[in-house]
Subunit: 222 residues, 2 copies
């Protein structure tokens, strides 16, 4: 895990200055948002502001490097968790703290809409669609009239809920991400499961009315 993420402060001194800057940037961007100053990042990395420019050319260059790094790690972890035995996956879940900076960075990307945000989002939608399709084939998930749109809605609503919860915090610019995540799950797990298994409405009136409206009559109408 440590070697995978290179985010632990214990071995920070071992890393090259370039890597230390990048990791400090990911942490700062994730915790405080992308408006953090280059000077702050440099200080966190124990380095002069000039060196940041020397290695990354500009703030955008630094951002780009962070993007690439985060995306690459997410890619690697995902491939591992698919191929490896369940024990490894469980380890990942158990050590959310280690991934927290990455997740925080990703959430900030969703919030602001950078290239990583979009790429990660599209991947997330695709994953959810595949997952739902598999569940549908296994009979655990109800079929949808438009699986693509459903997957997109589920991704958007859950990620979005996270964003709103983030913005509604007392100080959205300084978050303890692991804590925040835990509280969020604690707060929403029940209504989410309720909604997903029992629905909200007791009848089909709204849905059928909409289906008629868009010209796709509900089954059994004609």
């Amino acid at each position: 895990m440590f070697s995978l993420l290179n985010m632990s402060s214990a071995d920070a001194s071992d890393l090259t200055a370039r890597a230390r800057i990048r990791d400090a940037a990911i942490e700062h961007f994730g915790r405080h948002g992308f408006k953090v100053t280059i000077r702050a990042i440099a200080e966190k990395a124990g380095v002069s502001p000039g060196l940041v420019m020397h290695h990354f050319g500009s703030k955008d260059g630094l951002r780009k490097a962070c993007d690439d790094h985060v995306f690459e790690i997410v890619h690697r972890v995902k491939k591992e968790s698919v191929t490896a035995d369940p024990a490894v996956s469980l380890q990942h879940v158990a050590h959310i703290e280690e991934f927290a900076p990455l997740l925080a960075y990703a959430v900030r990307s969703f919030q602001e809409g950078g290239s990583v945000g979009l790429a990660l989002y599209e991947r997330m939608v695709a994953d959810i669609r595949d997952y739902l399709a598999a569940g549908e084939a296994a009979g655990r998930i109800r079929p949808s009239r438009d699986p693509g749109k459903r997957a997109r809605w589920l991704a958007e609503s859950s990620m979005g809920s996270l964003l709103v919860a983030l913005s509604m915090r007392p100080d959205p610019d300084d978050i303890d991400f692991p804590l925040f995540l835990r509280e969020w799950m604690e707060e929403h797990m029940l209504p989410l499961l309720e909604l997903y298994t029992e629905g909200l409405y007791t009848d089909r009136q709204m849905l059928d009315a909409y289906l008629l409206y868009v010209g796709d009559p509900p089954a059994g109408t004609r």
Copy 2:
């Protein structure tokens, strides 16, 4: 409607400079986010930057004035739509364009987490809770184990979906809000209604497992 919102450009010249500045600020903040410059707002209002300071003291003061104005209008419109006849409500829905700047401003507030954002959000949660309670009493809405958390989840997920959709746009800093809203509804109405009337899972396995986990055994377990 026009006299209510004072957002139409047709009678912009009639308004006092102070009101014109405030309206221009609401429009700009809503369309481009809160990082728009005072100079840009002043130009839009046909006024010098100094005058903005003269009337509002600071950028924060301007923001505060916008907050108050938006909140006050939302309050007034809401009270009207509750007391007035249905025809008026329909008029409101039909003329989304007129409200768009206000809505855009509110969404930006949610995104950034200002005081208005929080206040509007809490009010929204309360409204949804009341609405669901009424529906439950009328037998149209299923009961929940925790109506408060359910209302919060529904508010968060729908608002949040809007935020994510906003961030994933090609240029999130320059949105045509009415168009954006229409596309969003077009895209999500179906999966939303499907989910709300039919649910997602075919069985109660996930929900029951969670209820057991949190120490609240599902009905019929003992």
